[in-house]
């Protein structure tokens, strides 16, 4: 058992960046405000990197999301491993052509002659009263684009291990950081290495119902566990970790075991990742299910500003408990 240290997600990301940049001179960082003279990124996750590795490898950019992603693509095609920060997930919409039409597709469209080994780090999540253009969970959009991996960590160890994997991956990865998980401390092994992409983690084993979640919603599901146990229900909780490609094997094995599934995410429920997972479970396990698969997600609404409205937008731990109880009949 290796030595554990307590750190939060910000520190875990920072540690991963230091390790990755130390290990591979091809790793670059670019984004708005990321050099030390600008504070090392909006959440400080890139702090210290420009001082240690130099302004040629850690580059603050203009507020130009298309130019940021374009520069990362061109460098990646030439063998570099750029880690581009798009400050907030909603700002990826400004660079969607670069991400969707180019980064994700160039390997395929070039018949495998070129590849784009880059990471796009971005921050999102409701709960901070930042309203409809600073808080959306758009991972479903990116999961729909063949050629880009979508990674959604929920705890410090995963922040470190999954980011290391994204940087090493030969293809573009979108790495989604959330305000609800970044500041929560957790135990991280001193020698925490890469955690494989596309593999879910069973957080708690159970036999009656499977709960599938990721990102900040994962923490809300963990808060719901006590209430579920009190009701005498044995819940299996799965942290998906990677949205695309997602771990069908782990999810289907758990769903086959329990026969009841709740998928919970902060993303808007309509056409959200939960729809794909629920449909797959129905296709593969129709006869073995004891109840219809349930989906919990944001309502069909932009993220609101007003606190009571924002609270109502988010799926609460209480809602998770009530949904699980209802599913048990």
């Amino acid at each position: 058992m290796s030595e554990m240290v307590k750190m939060n997600g910000l520190q875990a990301i920072n540690a991963a960046m230091f390790e990755a940049m130390e290990a591979d001179p091809k790793v670059l960082v670019l984004g708005e405000d990321i050099a030390d003279r600008e504070g090392g990124g909006v959440t400080g996750t890139m702090r210290g990197l420009s001082t240690k590795f130099g302004d040629h490898r850690v580059c603050t950019t203009p507020i130009s999301e298309q130019a940021i992603i374009g520069a990362a693509i061109g460098a990646a095609i030439n063998g570099y491993k750029p880690v581009a920060e798009i400050m907030l997930m909603n700002f990826t919409t400004v660079a969607m052509d670069m991400i969707f039409n180019h980064a994700a597709k160039l390997r395929f469209m070039s018949g495998g002659q070129t590849s784009v080994p880059m990471v796009i780090r971005t921050l999102t999540g409701a709960g901070w009263q930042t309203a409809g253009q600073h808080a959306d969970h758009l991972e479903g959009w990116f999961a729909h684009a063949a050629g880009i991996k979508v990674v959604c960590p929920s705890n410090p160890a995963d922040y470190k291990g999954l980011l290391l994997s994204c940087i090493q991956d030969p293809d573009p990865c979108l790495f989604v950081e959330t305000g609800g998980t970044l500041f929560v401390p957790g135990e991280v092994a001193v020698d925490q290495g890469p955690i494989p992409l596309g593999k879910a983690r069973i957080v708690q084993e159970g036999t009656d119902v499977t709960i599938i979640s990721y990102s900040t919603m994962m923490l809300r599901c963990q808060m719901a566990l006590a209430g579920i146990a009190e009701a005498g229900i044995s819940a299996e909780l799965i942290d998906l970790r990677t949205i695309s490609p997602w771990d069908r094997e782990t999810v289907l094995a758990s769903a086959a075991k329990t026969g009841r599934v709740v998928i919970a995410h902060e993303a808007v429920r309509n056409f959200g990742p939960g729809a794909e997972i629920a449909a797959t479970i129905n296709e593969e396990l129709f006869g073995q299910l004891k109840a219809p698969v349930r989906r919990l997600g944001g309502p069909y609404s932009p993220v609101p500003f007003s606190k009571p409205l924002e609270d109502a937008f988010l799926v609460s731990p209480e809602t998770v408990v009530a949904t699980v109880k209802a599913l048990m009949g």
């Binding site: 670059l28 040629h56 490898r57 580059c59 950019t61 203009p62 130009s64 999301e65 298309q66 130019a67 992603i69 374009g70 520069a71 990362a72 693509i73 061109g74 460098a75 990646a76 095609i77 030439n78 063998g79 570099y80 750029p82 052509d97 670069m98 039409n101 180019h102 160039l106 390997r107 395929f108 469209m109 070039s110 018949g111 495998g112 002659q113 070129t114 590849s115 063949a146 050629g147 991996k149 030969p170 293809d171």
Partner: protein
């Protein structure tokens, strides 16, 4: 028009080499159009007939490892960069021996060996990526340059402005080459562009900008030389606006009602290809016999490429699971 007459003049050999590239582009374009019109190939085709001087003069100054990022009308930019024609024809025919195994097609040819790194079907998107190619050249400590080819219409999209600003701030070895053919798809230049010369926009981004006669090989060569030298010397980017005219409509098959018969006839009467040929002969740089052989060689190369491409097999459906990621998607 910019007077860059201080640049060293091209040698006779270089002038003939520029003509060779122009002729290879024109003969290849002619072969593609004929093949499509005969129904032997089905594809969206964006001819750049009339604009051959621009990439030919530039490519005469490029090394093999210099990189280009071009657009859907950019087959001429690849041919000018001496991309082999066999994989080009196999690609536009959608075959497995194509540069991209038939997965990209005529709008997305890629051939890193020739420095053809990305070809985009989205107006303006060559520029942000060319910056990245140039950034890598700089990080490598090399003298490589990156060329971003685009049209006048693309100078009105946000990516142009973001890219020029970043390239200037980062002093990237990139040359922004705008072929101003007077039309953004169907829309006349003056109906959609705020300045009379796109080169004026360079001032807003702290870089030199020149408006050049893009149909004059010597003027084009001089301007490109100035820009490429500046980039290789680490002094940063340049915007070249190359004035030209598109002989065809936006896409092969459009009825180009938005172009007047008179202006089109005038442009075609002033076709830079025969004009340059006559000049080379007149100045004694090349003989009629040499030119006849050059043309015969090019036509033989194209015929061979065409036959090779059309005979290549189609890709199998398994290719849909390959090249999505490095690892194959399971069946």
């Amino acid at each position: 028009m910019a007077d860059l007459s201080n640049s060293p003049a091209p040698s006779a050999d270089t002038l003939v080499d520029i003509y060779r590239r122009m002729l290879r582009i024109e003969r290849n374009d002619d072969a593609i159009r004929k093949t499509v019109r005969l129904g032997r190939l089905t594809m969206p085709y964006y001819s750049a007939r009339g604009q051959e001087v621009i990439p030919s003069a530039i490519s005469a100054l490029l090394e093999k490892d210099d990189q280009i990022c071009t657009i859907y009308r950019g087959i001429q930019d690849m041919v000018a960069k001496d991309m082999p024609l066999r994989p080009l024809w196999a690609e536009i025919a959608g075959r497995i021996d194509g540069t991209c195994k038939g997965k990209g097609g005529p709008m997305h040819l890629t051939h890193p060996e020739s420095g053809v790194m990305v070809t985009t079907g989205v107006v303006g998107s060559s520029m942000p990526i060319a910056n990245g190619l140039a950034w890598a050249a700089k990080l490598d400590g090399s003298k490589r340059v990156a060329i971003a080819y685009f049209g006048d219409g693309a100078s009105n999209i946000g990516a142009f402005h973001e890219s020029l600003n970043l390239a200037s701030v980062w002093k990237l070895p990139v040359i922004f080459v705008c072929a101003n053919n007077g039309f953004a798809e169907h829309t006349r230049y003056e109906n959609a562009t705020s300045v009379d010369q796109i080169s004026k926009r360079a001032a807003g981004y702290g870089m030199p900008g020149y408006t050049v006669d893009g149909n004059d090989p010597e003027a084009m060569y001089a301007a490109a030389q100035t820009a490429i030298t500046r980039a290789r010397d680490g002094e940063g980017p340049t915007l070249l606006e190359c004035i030209t005219y598109r002989f065809m409509g936006h896409v092969l098959g459009d009825d180009d009602f938005y172009m007047t018969k008179e202006e089109k006839a005038a442009a075609m009467a002033d076709d830079p290809l025969p004009k340059f040929r006559a000049k080379l002969v007149e100045q004694g740089h090349v003989s009629e016999e040499q030119l006849a052989k050059l043309q015969a060689d090019i036509e033989a190369e194209i015929l061979d490429a065409q036959e090779f491409g059309m005979a290549s097999p189609y890709p199998s459906a398994d290719e849909l699971r390959r090249d999505i990621f490095a690892e194959e998607i399971p069946a």
